[in-house]
């Protein structure tokens, strides 16, 4: 299968009161046609801003210092603003983490659903209205006709999230980027939405980049998993390998922090400590200060990526196990 999206050495910086801060370092991964890649990682590690940079929607004080984002071979970063606008909501669409950042409080749901259909698909107002209602039905909203006339504040959190999903699916994108798309949904509706995304994948070959912290959702939907920590990828592999045989201590800690729904109730094992500050100069491995296995070398040199059968890990503990030519220069 061919790669539809390739991210190469992406570096994102922010201008802030504390100076220029680097938030994402040399991020590289790719997504194949029809594939679902789940991105997981600690709150603040750079998942959303990486996704926003694919959409060309970084906040004003952010910029891409280096790197490429190739969509079907074209570097999105070289496109003019109006060319990028034509991509957005059409070929690539996104479900945003916080619905109220994407929904306009002064327009009705109907207006916000109709507009992209009219712009990108050339629908008439009437056609767009009918399609809008159909989309709201698909995402499981009751009373779709009524909802078209309501304003965002009149909907519950989960309803807003589903309106946004409906908007993102409207134009049958080739890539759907979904940033925590089901956090406000109960598990029955979550299952329905995941099925819907799956159907679209099967029928239209849509690729999905899903950011989620719900390990159950990852286990159920992902083909491949990317684990990020402090602006970097620390582990990547197919879902079964990462879940059954995690290599990086951060991934292991993450999997151990999931609250259980069955069996004995035990104290949750949080990973002690917190993410380093964006401005902090870090020597060695970025996870080192919180790692229970940190060695001398971890404190002085950044680890390279080690690869075995497509399973990549950025950790010095892999050093002993692997032979020199397994090392991919990072």
């Amino acid at each position: 299968m061919t790669d539809i999206l390739q991210i190469e050495n992406l570096n994102i910086h922010f201008r802030t009161a504390e100076g220029s801060l680097s938030a994402v370092h040399d991020l590289s991964f790719s997504v194949k046609k029809g594939e679902t890649v789940c991105v997981v990682g600690e709150s603040g590690c750079g998942k959303s801003i990486s996704a926003l940079s694919i959409m060309g929607l970084l906040p004003e004080n952010g910029h891409i210092a280096q790197g490429k984002i190739l969509f079907e071979g074209t570097d999105l970063l070289s496109l003019k603003p109006d060319q990028m606008r034509k991509m957005r909501g059409n070929k690539i669409s996104m479900v945003f983490q916080e619905p109220m950042t994407a929904l306009n409080p002064v327009f009705t749901i109907g207006y916000q659903l109709r507009e992209p259909l009219r712009i990108h698909q050339g629908f008439s107002k009437k056609q767009a209205h009918v399609k809008g209602i159909e989309l709201l039905k698909q995402v499981g909203l009751s009373l779709p006709e009524q909802r078209m006339k309501q304003y965002p504040h009149e909907l519950s959190g989960g309803m807003r999230q589903r309106v946004m999903i409906a908007m993102a699916l409207a134009c049958h994108p080739q890539i759907l980027i979904a940033d925590e798309p089901t956090t406000a949904l109960d598990v029955t509706i979550q299952a329905q939405i995941l099925d819907l995304i799956n159907d679209m994948k099967e029928q239209l070959g849509t690729s999905v980049v899903m950011i989620t912290h719900d390990m159950g959702v990852v286990a159920e939907t992902a083909d491949r998993v990317v684990v990020m920590y402090a602006g970097e990828i620390v582990e990547e592999g197919d879902v079964e390998t990462v879940f059954n045989d995690p290599q990086h201590p951060y991934t292991k800690g993450l999997l151990a922090s999931v609250p259980k729904v069955e069996g004995e109730l035990t104290q949750l094992q949080a990973i002690p400590g917190s993410l380093p500050n964006l401005g902090e100069a870090i020597v060695g491995c970025r996870f080192q200060s919180r790692c229970p296995f940190a060695m001398d070398i971890c404190r002085s040199q950044a680890p390279p990526i080690y690869e075995e059968n497509g399973h990549q890990t950025r950790c010095w503990m892999k050093e002993g196990e692997s032979i020199a030519d397994n090392i991919v220069p990072s």
Binding site: T16, V40, G41, E42, S43, G44, S48, I49, P59, N61, Q97, E98, M100, G140, S142, L143, Q146, K149, E154, L155, S156, G157, G158, R162, D179, E180, T183, A184, L185, D186, V187, T188, I189, Q190, A191, H213, D214, G216, A219, E220, V239, E240, F243, N244, L254, L255, S257, V258, P259, K260, V261, E262, L265, Q267, L268, Q269, A270, I271, N277, G279
Partner: protein, 327 residues
């Protein structure tokens, strides 16, 4: 002896739906349609249920953030239902809410340090330096950094913003907090830290939580009792363990069966709910769940099931409770 902190009596909250050119009220959304609860001091009461079933509305209504359509609220033995804004002020300090959409609840032009301080200023006699120190320590307590004090809301990630909301609610040292999807934007490791923090504060200050969440694993971890709602109604209430081990209401059973497990490619039995989600303006007659219930009968479409005890502190509203379900 456990003491009752909060009595919620037959609370209803209906929203008018306006229509036509004149925007006259055409009908009502029965967002919360008769909820009665006793919340014990120091407990965590989890609230779960389908999206749109009225959880946030219930939280806002019992904190007096919106006027009730019907019902009565008794907080620490005082009837607060009819109090004026001014009379309510001392109670407001005791009762805080962590909002579901952190972006919408923060002022984009206010630095977050100032936003948290503002809350303290209204209620606490502290000087500027003490206030600042208090805010800095709160930031650290929720896993943020002192450096974050001067930043604006948009400069944070979703999960960081959620923790600002938590710090703001804790700032006043309330005795009762409604946590509305308070950890839903956090990855599991930070979530574990925040949950452990909420538990620690609870045992230190005898805090009481109403904990709304879709994450049934989180609810199980933090709650003493769990309430399940459907379409504005209470369907089941039980001690946490009983609810997860022995759910009796068919809706609760369907909900628990739909939880995604953290094992890739494992097939599992999910009870799929049939039919459309009914409209809250015109909820089904009889049992509100009967249109989607796998075991519904004629009786369910005609008469509303009573709220009855099925075990120690375990209640449910189903005509067939106690009988073999899903045979």
């Amino acid at each position: 002896m456990p003491t009752t902190l909060f009595q919620v009596k037959n609370v209803k909250k209906h929203y008018p739906i306006k229509g036509g050119i004149l925007r006259r009220t055409k009908s009502e959304v029965k967002a919360v349609n008769g909820v009665s609860l006793e919340i014990t001091k120091g407990e965590t009461l989890g609230v779960v249920g389908e999206s749109g079933c009225g959880k946030s509305t219930l939280g806002r209504a019992i904190l007096g953030l919106e006027p009730l359509t019907e019902g009565q609220l008794i907080f620490a033995d005082q009837d607060i239902t009819q109090l004026s804004r001014r009379q309510l002020k001392p109670f407001k300090r005791e009762m805080q809410m962590i909002f579901q959409d952190p972006y919408a609840s923060l002022n984009p032009r206010q630095r977050i340090g100032a936003a948290i301080e503002e809350a303290i200023k209204i209620h606490n006699p502290m000087n500027a330096k003490q206030r600042r120190e208090k805010v800095l320590s709160l930031l650290e307590e929720v896993g943020l950094k002192r450096e974050h004090y001067g930043r604006f809301p948009h400069e944070f990630s979703g999960g960081q913003r959620q923790r600002i909301g938590i710090a703001r609610a804790l700032a006043l040292q309330p005795s009762f907090i409604v946590c509305d999807e308070a950890v839903s934007a956090l990855d599991v490791s930070v979530q574990a830290q925040v949950l452990n923090l909420l538990k620690k504060l609870q045992s230190k200050y005898e805090l009481t939580y109403l904990f709304i969440s879709h994450d049934l694993g989180v609810v199980r971890y933090i709650s003493d009792r769990v309430l399940v709602m459907y379409l504005g109604n209470m369907v089941e209430l039980a001690p946490s363990e009983a609810l997860y081990e022995n759910p009796v209401h068919p809706y609760t059973q369907a909900l628990l069966s739909a939880i995604p497990r953290t094992v890739p490619n494992k097939e599992r039995e999910r009870i799929k709910l049939m039919g459309e989600i009914p409209s809250p303006t015109d909820p089904p007659k009889g049992c509100a769940f009967h249109t989607r219930c796998p075991i519904a009968t004629e009786l369910c479409s005609q008469s509303k099931p009573e709220w009855r005890a099925v075990g120690e502190g375990h209640y449910a509203a189903c005509h067939y409770v106690g009988e073999e379900l899903n045979a």
